[in-house]
């Protein structure tokens, strides 16, 4: 009881001391996006560069439109990861947009490519799929949408660099099993639907070995035409 009274007395003194404009701002969290996304950074890194957990994706530098689409999908529960679904549930659209812009405009360096655990043959198969696709099996080249440099295109197509193999194969798996969907027509679902388990392993492994390009920024909207329509990439 006494301790409690002492604590509240201390609080009153602190409050009284903070009378004045400068002190008042000092008594508030910084009015920045960086402070507002501190709930995200233990998993995604301070600048969205990713963390040591191989399933936690890098966010930095991806197109803002793409990141925003993901935040909308997590908020509604269409894309599932309960800890994030919970955090975003009651946040309004303009705020999610601001978060997306924030991470899109951060440019920490891409990580060093990790040494690969798969064989040369598997890597070669991955490279073939990514750069040429497989016309016989209706698989378009990944680069036909994700860009010749795999850096993505504004506003809705993400780059595929700086992601770990485990994350990429989990996402392709999620599309194959229908637990991740994008705006219709969901072109990634068509692509992933044609991939076998072995294809996924190969292409994910090859992507993870790619070194950082000189300019990792997504190319402007309309730089190249997509092989078929994607709901996330308005014409």
């Amino acid at each position: 009881m006494l301790a409690r009274a002492a604590a509240s007395a201390a609080l009153i003194v602190t409050l009284a001391a903070s009378d004045g404009a400068a002190a008042q701002t000092a008594n508030q969290p910084p009015d920045t996006m960086a402070a507002r996304v501190e709930a995200c950074t233990p998993c995604h890194g301070n600048k969205g560069e990713g963390t040591s957990d191989v399933y936690f994706p890098r966010l930095a530098g991806k197109p803002a439109g793409y990141l925003y689409n993901q935040l909308l999908a997590f908020r509604s529960g269409r894309r599932k990861y309960p800890p994030m679904n919970y955090l975003l549930e009651f946040l309004p659209d303009p705020y999610l947009e601001a978060m997306a812009e924030y991470f899109a405009s951060e440019h920490p360096p891409l990580p060093q490519p990790a040494p690969s655990e798969v064989s040369k043959d598997v890597l070669a198969q991955g490279e073939l799929l990514a750069t040429s696709g497989d016309a016989n099996r209706n698989i378009p080249a990944c680069v036909s949408c994700h860009g010749p440099g795999l850096t993505g295109m504004q506003p809705g197509i993400p780059g595929l660099l700086g992601l770990r193999a485990a994350y990429v194969s989990a996402q392709l798996g999620a599309w194959r099993y229908g637990t991740r969907t994008a705006k219709s027509p969901d072109c990634m679902q068509l692509v992933a639907g044609h991939l076998t388990e072995a294809d996924v392993t190969a292409v994910a492994a090859w992507l993870a070995t790619r070194p950082a390009p000189a300019n990792p920024a997504p190319v402007p909207k309309g730089t190249y035409a997509l092989p078929f329509g994607c709901g996330s990439q308005p014409n």
Binding site: A10, L11, P29, A39, L91
Partner: protein
Amino acid sequence: MGFKLSITLLALAAFTTVAQAQDKTSDIIARGEYLARAGDCTACHTAAEGRLFAGARPMPTPFGTIYTSNITPDPETGIGKWSADDFYRTMHNGRFPDGGLIYPAMPFASYTKVTRADSDAIFAYLRSIPPVNQKNKPHELRFPYDNRQLILGWRTLFFSEGEFKPDPTKSAEWNRGAYLVEGLGHCGMCHSPINALGGTSQSDAFKGGLIPMQNWYAPSLTSNREAGLGDWSIKDITDLLQTGVSARGVVYGPMAEVVHNSLQYLDDADTKAMAVYLKGIAEASSPPPASSALPNTESSLLISLGKTVYDKNCASCHGTQGEGKPPHWPPLANNQSIEMQSAVNPIRMVLNGGYPPGTKGNPMPYGMPPFAGLLSDNEVAAVVSYIRTAWGNRGTPVSAREANELRSAPLN
């Protein structure tokens, strides 16, 4: 000349009455929309990414999943064929137009207090929205709860029909607040001990309870040891209800939903009326002697580990003395919501983190990271024990087992 003028005048007169009538209807519809927000009809009857008021939002209960109904004016699948009388009967008495019984997941036990005029306004609003042709999703209730006759038993125990009766000894403002809290606000649906039948009894109204299936504790609104607001200023209460954050604490979990979907839309006068009423019903109660299940030596070890965890992970936002940076980084010293007998909420807060709701008054809230992946059960128990007992707080230590059990609590 004279003739022509009188015709013009007549036409004008006719025109003004039509305009007035339209004006009145649009006033009623606007009022209905406001009241539908106050009653949270809007969010409960709209599914994620679904059409407005088309229903199909799942509500998990201990008896199975109930889906909310389509209440758009579609004649086949909505309530397009209902009359205002039918609608009032549903709100007031929990029955369908054919007399069938409605599950109490639809909070008619509170809505029974709503006046006929307010019910009519909500109905007028619902008639004005676009109809959606979408069949109601059948409930997925286990035997025997799929039998609606069982609702009769619940009604006998927990339902008393009757519009709100103002208390003449209290101010108009207090009565307005009481009407909103007890009626449309259906606050008692969560803030009451919930018995096995999912009912709340009148005498226990606003005494607090664990919400089944969600594993959140809705604190008592009458005890100052819990969420009773007796020693809060009116401004702190209206801030909390309207913006989700205040100098005394913040809302989270299911209460964030209430503020986000409903309370943020109430005007200043109604919010203040609710605050006056809530402050009024809180009764100071003498603190029960602190009792902990943990032996003393064990809890003092836990608490010293807790301080280490706190200084490293929490103090940057909540301050070394638990003073926070209110309202955005809430104070933990002298914060009722972490000192309550039930430690469910602070444990979950640490495991899951959270953002207060984004509201008109606080559109870009600050957030707290989830610590489930960063701290062990023992560390969670330690830091929660620490914040419940440091700085003069009067809570009790918690065990690693309690922390562990809440790791599997549902997140939505």
